[in-house]
């Protein structure tokens, strides 16, 4: 099985997944709106968004969550597509210009006959250290 993290037997609890950074841009938000058919003006209409308590456009929470999924598929390959789970909370909106750091850490490895369940704590933080997303991701990997 192809995994970005190397061999399954080399994984251990406490191991960090390779982290990465993403810059949130209005262009990406607009593209995401198109891809997801979510054209809520809070995401794409700067004039509208300025008049709301948020004071400007924000990224779709699902766009930022896609970064977590990307980290998991980079780490666990195709297993993520047919054995992945996410359970997260959206804490703070991400805005255009934010730099989002996506991190993950293996919290538990449960080896059973034929497959291994790997649980990870995952999070996305902005450049100020504010938590944008926190939660858990898990993946079932065939041995």
């Amino acid at each position: 099985m192809e995994m970005g993290l190397g061999q399954l037997t080399e994984l251990s609890e406490g191991m960090n997944l390779p982290e990465f950074r993403k810059m949130v841009t209005q262009e990406n938000i607009n593209l995401y709106a198109e891809a997801s058919r979510d054209f809520n003006p809070i995401h794409i209409d700067e004039d509208f968004a300025k008049k709301t308590p948020l004071g400007g456009t924000i990224a779709h929470g699902m766009l930022i969550l896609a970064y977590v999924s990307q980290m998991m598929s980079a780490a666990f390959g195709q297993s993520w597509l047919s054995g992945g789970r996410l359970n997260v909370r959206f804490k703070t909106p991400a805005r255009p210009g934010d730099s989002i750091t996506v991190t993950g850490r293996i919290s538990r490895i449960k080896r059973n006959e034929g497959q291994t369940l790997i649980r990870c704590d995952v999070s996305c933080q902005n450049q100020n250290g504010d938590s944008v997303i926190t939660g858990e991701a898990s993946v079932r990997v065939e041995k």
């Binding site: 891809a35 699902m62 598929s73 993520w80 909370r89």
Partner: protein
């Protein structure tokens, strides 16, 4: 795409099933999605695999096209399980059902259960979406 008739929050009851939505994720949709999230991983290059969060995004879009949520609604949490890989041009059907509706103080909570199946009737994704709605949502 024709505008669907939306149901108001006040009309929802636990167990309410939103109209199912059928869609096909073609290669241009997947390309736009990958560009939006800047995912250039080899997993999706020169393959027919669809990123699971692209499927999730469409399931959520189908839901948002069926429900009228008031301004100020916050998407607070999200669960997904990716059960089976989806290929480009698979036909998917999204089902959504009100799992919980509750008021606490001046806030209202809504949890919607999602299920997506493919053209072989096989489950490919399940999920649970939670919203907090602002005061007076029951009046809508």
């Amino acid at each position: 795409m024709p505008e669907k008739q939306k149901i108001e929050y006040s009309q929802l009851e636990v167990g309410y099933e939103f109209p199912p939505s059928s869609y096909k994720l073609d290669s241009s949709m997947v390309t736009t999605y990958l560009k939006a999230v800047e995912d250039a991983s080899a997993l999706y290059q020169d393959t027919v695999l669809v990123p699971p969060m692209a499927i999730a995004a469409h399931a959520m879009a189908s839901l948002s096209e069926s429900i009228c949520l008031p301004p100020g609604t916050i998407h607070v949490s999200q669960e997904f399980e990716f059960i089976d890989a989806v290929s480009i041009n698979d036909t998917l059907i999204s089902y959504a059902r009100v799992g919980r509706k509750q008021s606490r103080g001046k806030f209202h909570f809504l949890i919607v259960d999602l299920n997506v199946i493919n053209q072989h009737q096989k489950a490919v994704l399940t999920g649970k979406t939670s919203f907090i709605l602002p005061e007076h949502s029951e009046d809508m």
